[in-house]
Amino acid sequence: MTSRQQGARALPRALTRPLTRVLPLTPALVLLLLFLAGPIAYCVYIAFTDLQLTGQAHSSFVGLANFRRAFRDEAFVNAVWLTLVFTVVSSLIGQNTLGLALAGLMRRASKPVRTLTGGIVVTAWVLPEVVAGFLLYAFFRREGTLNAILDWLHLPRQNWLFTLPILAVSFANVWRGTAFSMLVYSAALDEIPGEITEAAEVDGAGGWRRLWHVTLPMIRRSIATNLMLNTLQTLSVFGLIWVMTRGGPGDRSQTLPLFMYEQAFQNSMIGYGTAVALLLLLVGSLFSAVYLRLLKTEVQ
């Protein structure tokens, strides 16, 4: 009865082997639960309370009050709107398109030009957020570099930080974040086999048609990944805007992370601030869902 014996032995082994493999992982799992899932769960809980950092003796459970408050709050609606503008302009349009264009152009450029451009773009990316913020503040401010250049060209001066602050910070984010897209797209473009492009050329496809019908479909997975990562990163940009405008003037560049900070730490309403954080998370997942959906239709 060798087969039965084997079966009898195999059963406990099938159980014990995963167990012995899982066992060493338990401490790590406990740590993860304790320090990652724990705080997240606690955050979700706080979002349903009226917890304040100071100014109250006891906090209590308030249900959905924080969320209802957010949707009634004009400043919140304004922040959502600005967050969308900031994300669409700087990430979707700016970083993404510019990154692709740079990656495409650099393939044709000579090596010195490529190294130099790549170097500059990557430097902007490597700089700490706060340093980049100060640099661009100095560039945009009224007595800054941009106006010096405009003066020199005999063009009228502008004060972007005051008149169109959301565009100024969007530009700053493009400046800082394009390198990432550029690197992703350079890698993706390298993957396209040369013969396909040549074949399209032989068939008489021009530059734009090649881009639209050959290149873009071939790198669509990279596009989706890049868009998703860019968007999530852009949604959480805080330091850059804080340094350049503090969300002002007024609240004309107050995106959701800045609004959240103001509510939680300046007005000490931790409960409300956390609720806003959860809503920000929701915005992020909405964007992700849209990208995934787009990717799916393209595959079909």
Binding site: L34, T54, G55, Q56, T163, G248
Partner: protein, 457 residues
């Protein structure tokens, strides 16, 4: 089997990590009965060691006077708002609560309401020096329950700084002392006309400048509309916040006039979050600003070794008290804030902590502290001491203002009320809102942030 050792190692490492992490959380600091922990705000500027030096000195004196007792200084190096956050987190638990904390009067009432602090009345009753503190300062750390929760270690006042050079060019007197708001505006209009290229008058405004707009700007105006006897933001008998009435609108109108007539800085500059740095560091030292409504601490930025040392400021700048609206009694107005020493409710050694306050507040130590940090004395004995009054130019001027100063109603809702004020100011500054519209916007926000605890006057 190459997997095993790695797995074992991972397990071991994880267990070790977990153990350290868990014990680190669990090990309480466990106050020893002979040691007090003193938390204070350390300057973010590494070259400024005023407080560290002073506290180190008092620690030495204290340990000598109380043999066997130890003082542990716990500096928190952070900008103001982060210091509050950090402190409030420490005060929540007996394991982390120090024995003595440095509290801003801006937030002390919030922390009192949270139950973070201990009432000091039993100690103060037995402390003869408490009688030396002036009444307004005593009330700065008083809770809504009437108990006192902190000992103030000085204050600040506010007034008008003006450039004597600009005034000479404009034909204005070097010993200028305006009697009403109109006098201030008239001087600014003269400067605008006669001295081009100079900003006539700076009044901080809008959200980017934060509490600076509310206190140096708006409240310096608002508290000058009455007779100085009642609070114009908060009704302490009814325990309600006051909605925007005539005084509030008058103060907003002043701000509106300054920016509409272009007597103030360019609106874009005024709403630049870094404008205060430009005022202290560039505009005043370079003679580009006529009049600045600002605080008593400005000379701190001009001390030798501070980056923009400007020792000759006292010859270049004049000082004038901010007048009341129409020159009505008491004639001048000032706002005060400042910091206090408080004992956390969860402190392990409150008695010894109060002994440390007493040591800091011997007359000699108090004087040393005021002079070192350009502070304004809240003690009568020090204020009367000639060596204090002559220690720095301007110190006598600002100390005299203490008699006509006001403290903010720094109750828990105050930070939110302050933001609402800044929004109203910003509306009239940019011209986006009329005075009436900004005032009614304030009323709406006020109702919202105080849960409807408002009253009309």
């Amino acid at each position: 089997m190459p997997v095993r050792p790695t797995a074992a190692l991972t397990a071991l490492l994880s267990a070790a990590l977990a153990a350290t992490a868990l014990t680190a959380c669990g090990s309480g600091s466990g106050s020893s009965p002979d040691t007090i922990k003193v938390s204070y705000k350390q300057s973010t500027d590494n070259s400024l060691k005023v407080m560290d030096t002073y506290l180190g000195d008092v620690k030495k004196q204290f340990e000598k006077r109380y043999p066997g007792k130890k003082v542990e200084l716990v500096p928190i190096k952070a900008p103001d708002s982060e210091y509050y956050t950090k402190l409030q987190q420490m005060l929540r638990s007996p394991r982390t609560a120090p024995d003595l904390v440095y509290e801003d009067t801006f937030l002390i009432n919030s922390d009192i309401t949270s139950g973070y602090l201990k009432p000091l009345d039993p100690y103060l009753a037995k402390w003869p020096d408490w009688r030396q503190f002036i009444d307004t300062a005593k009330s700065a750390a008083k809770g809504q329950d009437g108990k006192t929760y902190g000992v103030p270690d000085g204050t600040d006042t506010r007034g008008l700084w003006f450039d004597k050079g600009v005034f000479r060019k404009a034909g204005l007197p070097a010993d200028w002392q305006p009697k009403s708001w109109d006098d201030v505006l008239a001087a600014a209009r003269t400067i605008k006309e006669k001295v081009p290229g100079v900003t006539p008058l700076n009044v901080y405004t809008g959200k980017p400048a934060g509490e600076r707009s509310t206190m140096q700007g708006f409240e310096m105006l608002l508290y000058g509309t009455g007779d100085g006897s009642s609070d114009l933001l908060y009704d302490s008998t009814a325990k309600k916040w006051i909605t925007a009435g005539r005084p509030f609108k008058d103060a907003l109108s002043f701000v509106e006039t300054v920016y509409k007539e272009k007597l103030g800085p360019d609106v874009a500059d005024a709403l630049d979050p870094n404008y205060a740095t430009a005022v202290n560091g560039e505009l005043l030292p370079q003679g580009k600003l006529g009049i600045d409504l600002d605080g008593s601490w400005l000379p701190q930025a001009w001390l030798p070794g501070s980056g923009h040392a400007w020792p000759e400021w006292s010859q270049k700048l004049g000082l004038a008290a901010m007048p009341t609206q129409h020159g009505q009694a008491p004639g001048k107005v000032s706002m005060s804030g400042g910091w206090t020493w408080a004992v956390p409710a969860k402190a392990g050694n409150p008695d010894l902590a109060f002994d440390f306050i007493k040591e800091m507040q011997t007359e000699a130590n108090a004087k040393k502290w005021y002079i070192a940090n350009s502070g304004i004395s809240v003690r009568k004995d020090v204020a009367d001491d000639p060596s204090y009054a002559t220690a720095q130019p301007g110190i006598k001027f600002f100390t005299d203002l203490v008699a006509s100063t006001h403290y903010r109603p720094a109750y828990p809702a105050y930070p939110k009320v302050s933001t609402a004020i800044q929004e109203a100011m910003e509306g009239v500054t940019t011209g986006d809102a009329s005075v009436d519209k900004a005032a009614s916007g304030y009323d709406d926000t006020l109702k919202d942030v105080t849960d409807g605890q408002v009253t009309r006057r």
